[in-house]
């Protein structure tokens, strides 16, 4: 805010001119892809051919932007799969490896910074869960864990009853059959109603065109997952849909990086899965259960 006061008149005028230029998109010399992008249909309404065309266009667009070859999958949900997640609060040491593994895997903007996982630190013995005010997400000690604190990472809880989906005025976000809440980044209008509705701070807004170093881009993407986003749209965790939605499918990036093995992931419909074992054998709770969002993200205590 302070900075705005110092905007020089020149940069202000420059910005104004650029703004005028963006308004003036539909003039003669723009190539057809601009129009194609403008009239692109909603992902759920595209047939296979349309999807293929859109993917081709997007892959070219991304190549131009990042100098990398992209692959964008459109894999559908697998039958008989409902993804669930477990996080062992008795193990988490608050090292934030998961935060940055997620940033790396899912092409989150480095500038302005976006992070899908927030790690909260609580003083032991303090009230939490119902009142998160005492939580600190900016802690930065020499070493973790610290004696007097415990840690709770929060990310999208993939609610069965997602309030964010309910409020979206354009149906740009929806729950997939495998339980993942996804966004069509080409359909979102950026009204941020979903952000107001989300009780978990899981949705993030692209305040401007996201920036990532070309060499740090992850070009293996899914249309509904980690493909690069645009200015003015909302984004969120998808349980690494680009990795998990496949047979065999890999664990999400945050699960694999966790040095203490606090993160568990699997199919809630498979009685032999790790997540089912957690739910059946451990003391589990779900965040803000009183809101009846019914998350598929279970916090548990293994010890």
């Amino acid at each position: 805010m302070k900075k705005d006061k110092h905007i020089s008149r020149r940069s202000f005028l420059k910005g104004t001119a650029a703004g005028a230029a963006t308004l003036a998109i539909p003039v003669g010399n723009t190539d057809a892809s601009v129009w194609e992008a403008f009239f692109q249909q909603h992902f759920q309404e595209m047939d296979a051919d349309e999807k293929a065309r859109v993917i081709e266009r997007l892959e070219q667009e991304y190549k131009k932007r990042y100098n990398r070859e992209f692959s964008i999958k459109t894999t559908d949900a697998m039958p008989g799969v409902l993804f669930g997640y477990g996080l062992d609060l008795s193990r988490c040491i608050g090292c934030r490896r998961c935060v940055y593994a997620c940033v790396r895997e899912n092409n989150q903007s480095r500038d302005p910074q976006i992070q899908w996982i927030t790690v909260l630190r609580f003083e032991k013995g303090e009230k939490f869960v119902s009142n998160l005010e005492e939580a600190d997400k900016y802690y930065y000690p020499e070493k973790v864990p610290e004696e007097e604190y415990f840690y709770m990472p929060v990310q999208c809880q993939q609610c069965e009853n997602p309030p964010c989906v309910k409020v979206c005025p354009s149906r740009a976000t929806w729950k997939e059959p495998d339980g993942i809440v996804v966004i069509d980044y080409n359909w979102c209008i950026g009204c941020r109603f979903c952000m107001a509705a989300c009780p978990y701070g899981a949705r993030h807004f692209n305040l401007k065109t996201p920036r990532i170093r070309e060499e740090e881009i992850n070009p293996e993407t899914h249309y509904l997952g980690n493909r690069p986003r645009y200015q003015g749209v909302v984004e969120k965790c998808t349980f690494c849909v680009q990795r998990t939605r496949s047979n065999p499918g890999r664990y999400p990036a945050c699960v694999e990086i966790c040095p203490v093995g606090a993160r568990k992931f699997g199919n809630l419909l498979d009685p032999d899965s790790e997540i089912r074992y957690c739910i059946e054998n451990k003391r589990v709770f779900r965040l803000k259960e009183d809101l009846n969002t019914s998350p598929k993200f279970y916090y548990f205590f293994a010890t």
Binding site: F12, G15, A18, G19, A21, T22, L120, C188, M195, Y200
Partner: protein, 410 residues
């Protein structure tokens, strides 16, 4: 066709005529609009990063102004009810100007929502049939419908009346009566739907209280009319329109009741939150006392409280209510008080503390303020032009071609 062209020319000519004050006013508004447009273009090219909106507080000054203005628009109903339902003559003569104000206010509302969007190029995605409007699930879809519907109703009513008058015909009240009747619940609905927009979010305890919609309405019936009372006095000063004091005092009396209810509901909210002292107290605490040392809205909220209480007593006592000087003070106090309370004072604490407990003290940037001023100036300009046409049409000074009547001597 030719008649239409000449009629439009007549209207444009009417807008182009005026005294020095008029042109100074219009020029000022035009300048403010240019400043706002420039700021908005910058926001378009750079992104919302030029605002103070962040993930923690994802709606800000724009949505605050939107919320306040929905109240202003809804307040036209406070004139419609006594005018048409109770046939109170003095108000009936001025109800048109209230409807025109509703038009300007709704236009501003729509502008504020649109400039708050991250992707204005995708606006068509929320349209019914063309896009994929999420009706009836999303309250924003409802809001799109009720706001545009209200705009349409008021445009139809007032333009029909003006068109008939401009053609020197008596207008048939029975034709637009159903629309007028419809406009009453519709005005209530725009405010209710907007309140429900916030109200339905269980993630935000400050909004998730059923008292929200009633409070919205009560405060709307203060702020809108307060603005109208000031405008009416200006109108009767600069034109031949005669607005009786009786009408003004009647409206002021109704405002006193509305403000009384508003204050009572606020007190009920205060009691519930502070006495029970649950974790949901935090946003109230932030507003009125500060939370963990973060207190940038505290002076504003107490000022609003003082303004509203003072105004309540001014409007309650007939002596002060029926004295134009104190009445105008009361109006200014109410407008400011409700603007704070139903603007930033309503939107921001929904986000503070955030869903993960974070306290980010939002305060709008220069760009946001410029854009906001630009939108207000646009609304003012629209209302100015509407009045510029409506006033002479009402007094009989402006008539379509071939329909001129001799101008009455004043």
């Amino acid at each position: 066709m030719k008649i239409l062209a000449t009629n439009i020319l007549i209207l444009l000519k009417a807008i182009g005529r005026g005294n020095w004050y008029y042109f100074a006013w219009v020029t000022l508004l035009a300048l403010l609009i240019c400043a706002g447009a420039a700021a908005y273009l910058r926001q378009l090219s750079e992104g919302m990063i030029v605002t103070a909106i962040r993930d923690q507080v994802s709606w800000g000054f724009y949505i605050s102004n939107f919320t306040f203005l929905v109240g202003v628009a809804a307040a036209a109903v406070l004139l419609v009810v006594p005018a048409y339902i109770y046939d109170f003559k003095p108000i009936k003569e001025i109800v048109l100007f209230g409807e025109l104000m509703a038009i300007a206010a709704i236009t501003m509302c729509i502008m504020f929502v649109v400039i708050d969007m991250g992707r204005i190029d995708r606006l068509w995605h929320v349209l019914p049939f063309v896009g994929r409007m999420n009706f009836p699930s999303s309250l924003l879809a409802w809001d799109i419908i009720v706001l545009n519907g209200y705009l349409f109703i008021n445009l139809t009513i007032s333009f029909y009346a003006l068109y008939k008058m401009a053609n020197s015909k008596e207008y048939n009240i029975n034709i637009i009566k159903p629309l007028i009747i419809l406009s009453i619940p519709w005005a209530v609905s725009i405010h209710t739907v907007t309140a429900f927009l916030y109200n339905g979010l269980s993630a935000r305890p400050f909004w998730n209280a059923s008292i929200l919609a009633p409070r919205f309405l009560a405060s709307a019936f203060c702020s809108g009319p307060a603005l109208m009372l000031i405008v009416f006095q200006i109108i009767r000063k600069i034109s031949r329109i005669e607005i009786e004091n009786r009408a003004i005092f009647k409206i002021a009396e109704l405002m006193a009741y509305a403000m009384g209810i508003n204050l009572f509901l606020l007190a009920a909210e205060f009691f519930k939150e502070f006495y029970s002292g649950s974790v949901h107290l935090a946003p109230m605490e932030y507003l009125y006392f500060g939370l963990h040392g973060k207190d940038n809205l505290v002076p504003w909220m107490w000022s609003a409280m003082a303004f509203n209480i003072t105004a309540f007593f001014i409007f309650l006592r007939p002596q002060t209510r029926e004295n134009l000087f104190t009445l105008n003070i009361g109006c200014v106090l109410i407008i400011t008080g409700i603007y704070i309370e139903k603007g930033m004072g309503l939107v921001i604490p929904g986000f503070i503390p955030g869903t993960l407990g974070e306290i980010y003290q939002y305060s709008p940037t220069v760009i946001e303020k410029l854009v906001t001023v630009g939108v207000w100036a646009t609304g003012a300009l629209i209302y100015t032009f509407l009045l510029k046409l409506a006033i002479p049409v009402t007094t009989g000074e402006l008539r379509f071609s071939g329909k001129e009547k001799p101008v009455r001597a004043s």
